[in-house]
């Protein structure tokens, strides 16, 4: 039975009609028409549908919408603003350093897994600003890429860590 449920996504409050067991993914992609989180396996095995819930990477394909409560959901679309708040920047950048690094390192092939890659990498850098390669591999290990772009993603995350540090320093000086 559908019922009204209130969720907070990308700093906006939404009221959606959905059965309580509806996975958050279908609310985000259906009702909210967001393109970041996307279906990959429906089994929490691949990371395609990842979002941040209160800053923690979460598989939206197995998270019932009724379990979200009043916690803050951040999708790929809201990530630059989330990044700005995390780092107390005056305004959101067009892209997070992780996304810019994906472009600079030309990591992407088909790009379908990059929602999850971006969400997870941003979560990692928020916890460990300068991760070692082993820490990157360990953090990212639950995210699959079928095109085989892992090595470039590792490089890009290292690059993003450097860039974020540089940005933070210059922003705070202003």
């Amino acid at each position: 039975m559908a019922y009204g449920v209130r969720i907070r996504v990308n700093e906006r409050s939404w009221r959606v009609d959905a059965a309580p067991d509806t996975p958050l993914l279908y609310v985000l992609s259906g009702e909210l028409q967001l393109n970041g989180p996307r279906f990959g396996c429906g089994l929490a095995q691949c990371g395609s549908c990842s979002v941040l819930i209160d800053g923690v990477e979460t598989r939206s394909c197995v998270t019932p919408v009724s379990a979200v409560g009043d916690r803050a959901v951040t999708t790929l679309e809201g990530l630059p603003a989330w990044y700005a708040r995390q780092n107390r920047l005056p305004k959101p950048p067009a892209l997070t350093p992780v996304q810019q690094a994906f472009i600079d390192e030309q990591t992407i092939q088909c790009g379908y897994c990059y929602n999850g890659m971006t969400i997870k990498a941003c979560e990692l850098l928020s916890k460990i600003p300068r991760p070692t390669e082993a820490q990157i591999r360990s953090a990212m290990n639950g995210h699959l890429c079928r095109c085989g772009t892992y090595p470039r993603i590792i490089k890009a995350i290292q690059r993003a860590a450097e860039a974020a540090r540089a940005t933070a320093i210059s922003e705070h000086r202003q």
Partner: protein, 753 residues
């Protein structure tokens, strides 16, 4: 919130009405021939823009930009960027001044399928020639306008100016003057010589990457249209024998009565559900009670290769040079072995998706495919519509690496939309995609090869058993009862005269293909570098064994047996990149055993698909207590002739090194006697971050050569280099892959028994 529906259409009629277009066209016969040789049917569209009309290929707009009409799809490999580079080069435009538009069956030139990594090789020359001819015509117009002979004109960024008097200039856009005009395509315009290239051969950044990084790229899975329903297919979990399809015994529609608005659609054995809400469709498909007849018609994973060996086969000699029998008799050392390769899955990271809007007399299907014309024919068949009533609009999906279930998804969406009389979006569930894939076929091989006293390979014989590719899509098989059929091959479905021993100068050689009828096996099709991982696994290990018998370094042994300079080029390049030091097949069992738990090794291999030259080196580590292999570093070198964009190609090589590692170490489709049992990422594991090797990718650039394939050729050698590295590390030769701990550990234990 604005729906993410993409309403991007660019009908050619509007383009012409808008004026300002100079249009160049050309014929396509060569492409069609080349595609057919690859074993992929190309259906000439009944209503394509006439390839002989001048208005089919390139349009120069009044704002001094150009649209290039490209008949190939972007599959995440960057070829759409490379093809525009070629056009911009010949037109003397900047990359920011060229674009292409979405591929659609009624508006774009038919260049056949996007297969065999050949977009740049086959499509490139035509696009270049068309661009060069357009430039020639524009210069002629500029010559009149500026009252200056053509040879005194210079072009940069679409601005034609007079040499020595740059103030006298006119733009392409001004020249066209808003009026389209016809010029015959002659194919005779002179092309730039490679010394003048500005864009070709340079690392132009891929045009699709920024939107993909920003999350703004529209994958097929993101396409929505107002009023659409969500559909899912309902099938047994995992396919059975291809010939059997799936037979419905009973459907209990009442089992989803509690899901309001969900509806069962049945056409013979095709079962689907549709609902307004996606989650309702997903849970209806899960909840619907269907009883299937599941005959025990498969050999099961364990009995697979035995059944193939004892099968009645159709045999064909692919190659027979010299006198193999006599040469084996006179040889110094001989190696003879059997090898086994598994079924492997395309397993796109995002399951296939299609959106169909079927009306009484027409259909629009938005989908991912490698060949919109082939998809159109298949969709028309299940709908009972004439081909010209069906429009296919292409959207890039998740990477497909060959023919995954994209046509199956397109047909399923079409069938459901026709029955529901509404637009229907279908996305496969993970178990649909993994369970009903057109798998890369399993292979069985007997190989023997021999050397003379000087370490020269004198004889080589390869017998391969495998079935061909299924041509009946599952949705059609179930909905219409169309019998299972296989494409006739040979192409990439048979023992390969390109990848088996062809890189070496071998005077006596025989290749024999044993075609197994595929109806009692899994449904097969082309998986990236079809069959080459199995070929290279057998062939390049055999070459390594010969080197060992000759007491030679495996790199030096290969050098000694190659005459072709381009094969030598990639071999030397990869050895150099990896810092190869001479090793006399380094393994000594006593030493390794004494060294303890972790053994390290290094292997080298050569390979290709049908064109280009590739070489790889693998550094691995083997845990001798668990049998687990970790690839530490892979090096890959590819010579694909003229490389239009080395950045794109390096990314392909890098991806292939990782994917080949995954396929060699982990991937295997499993099945019982009734159905496929590897249905997700746990039961069909692929390589993860923590297991991923460092990679070094290198392109050998030949600006003066024609381009050849670049998306497949490293798969075989990279996989074989890992197998050779295992021998180097432990003295163990594996005859069946993937090299999982369950296979490697018993082999290690046998070594000391």
């Amino acid at each position: 919130m604005k729906p993410a529906t993409e309403a991007f259409t660019f009908p050619r009629r509007d383009l012409l009405k808008a004026g300002g277009a100079l249009l160049i066209g050309f014929a396509l016969r060569d492409t069609v021939r080349a595609q057919s040789a690859e074993g992929v049917a190309v259906v000439a569209g009944p209503d394509q823009p006439d390839p002989n009309r001048l208005d089919t290929w390139i349009a120069i707009h009044a704002d001094n930009t150009a649209t290039i009409f490209i008949g190939f799809v972007e599959l995440g490999q960057g070829s759409s960027t490379a093809l525009l580079q070629l056009a911009a080069e010949e037109l003397d435009l900047a990359m920011t001044q060229v674009k292409s538009i979405r591929l659609e069956s009624h508006t774009m030139p038919n260049q056949g399928g996007t297969v065999a990594s050949a977009s740049v090789a086959r499509g490139g020359p035509r696009i270049r020639l068309a661009a060069a001819e357009a430039r020639q015509a524009l210069l002629k117009m500029a010559s009149q306008k500026l009252d200056t002979p053509v040879d005194r004109l210079r072009v940069s960024g679409g601005v034609v100016s007079v040499a020595g008097d740059p103030k006298k200039s006119v733009t392409y856009g001004e020249l066209v003057g808003g009026k389209p005009f016809n010029l015959p395509y002659t194919g005779t315009a002179p092309l730039k010589s490679f010394g003048d290239y500005k864009l070709v051969g340079s690392r132009v950044l891929r045009l699709d990457v920024p939107a993909k990084a920003a999350g703004k790229y529209v994958h097929m899975q993101h396409v929505r249209i107002p009023g659409m329903l969500h559909g899912r297919v309902v099938r047994p979990r995992g396919q059975g024998a291809y010939g059997d399809g799936a037979r419905v015994l009973k459907v209990e529609e009442g089992s989803i009565a509690d899901i309001r608005g969900a509806r069962v659609i049945r056409k013979r054995d095709f079962i689907g559900v549709v609902a307004e809400n996606e989650w309702d469709a997903v849970r209806s498909a899960r909840q619907l009670k269907v009883t299937w007849d599941q005959p025990a018609a498969l050999p099961g994973t364990e009995g697979l290769h035995q059944q193939m060996r004892s099968a009645k086969t159709t045999d064909r000699i692919v190659l027979d040079n010299g006198d193999v029998t006599a040469a084996f008799g006179a040889a110094q050392h001989l190696v003879s072995q059997s090898y086994r390769g598994p079924y492997q899955s395309h397993a796109p990271f995002g399951p296939n998706c299609a959106l169909a809007d079927v009306k009484a007399d027409s259909a629009l299907v938005m989908c991912s495919t490698q060949n919109i014309y082939d998809t159109r024919r298949k969709v028309a068949q299940v709908l009972g519509l004439d081909i010209e009533k069906v429009t296919i609009r292409y959207y890039e999906g998740s990477g497909t690496y060959g023919r995954s279930c994209y046509d199956d998804a397109a047909q399923a969406a079409a069938i459901l939309s026709q029955a529901a009389a509404k637009p229907v979006r279908v996305q496969f569930m993970r178990w649909d995609e993994h369970g009903w894939d057109n798998f890369g076929p399993a292979q069985l091989a007997d190989i023997r090869a021999a050397i003379d006293r000087d370490g020269k390979i004198v004889a080589y014989e390869y017998h391969g058993w495998q079935h061909n590719w299924g041509t009946t899509e599952t949705s059609q098989q179930l909905a219409l009862g169309t019998p299972a059929a296989e494409s006739p091959g040979p192409g990439s479905q048979q023992v390969s005269p390109f990848n088996l021993g062809a890189m070496y100068a071998i005077p006596n050689m025989r290749l024999v293909n044993h075609h197994v009828d595929g109806v009692r096996y899994l449904k097969g099709s082309n998986l990236r570098s079809p069959l080459d991982v199995s070929f290279s696994f057998a062939s390049e290990q055999t070459i390594d064994e010969l080197a060992f018998l000759a007491g030679m370094d495996p790199y030096e042994f290969r050098q000694r047996n190659i005459r072709d300079e381009r094969w030598l080029g990639v071999l030397d390049a990869v050895a150099h990149a990896a810092g190869w030091t001479p090793r006399k097949a380094a393994y000594r069992s006593d030493r390794r055993r004494a060294e303890g738990r972790l053994a390290t090794g290094r292997g080298i291999a050569l390979g290709t698909h049908t064109s280009s030259y590739a070489a790889a080196v693998a550094d691995i580590e083997v845990d001798q207590e668990t049998g687990k292999i970790v690839a530490r570093h892979l090096y890959g070198v590819l010579d694909a002739g003229l490389c239009v964009n080395p950045g794109c190609l390096e990314n392909q090589i890098s991806g292939m090194l990782v994917q080949a590692t995954s396929r060699m170490l982990k991937e295997e489709v499993t099945f019982s006697t009734t159905n496929v049992t590897s249905l997700d990422w746990n039961s069909y594991p692929i390589l993860r971050f923590e297991e991923c090797p460092a990679v070094t990718a290198m392109v050998v650039q030949h600006l003066d050569q024609t381009p050849s394939g670049g998306g497949e050729e490293v798969m075989g050698p990279a996989a074989a280099a890992i197998a050779n590295a295992l021998f180097d590390a432990t003295g163990v030769r594996m005859r069946e892959y993937p090299l999982t701990p369950a296979r490697v550990l018993p082999a290690l234990e046998r070594r000391f028994a």
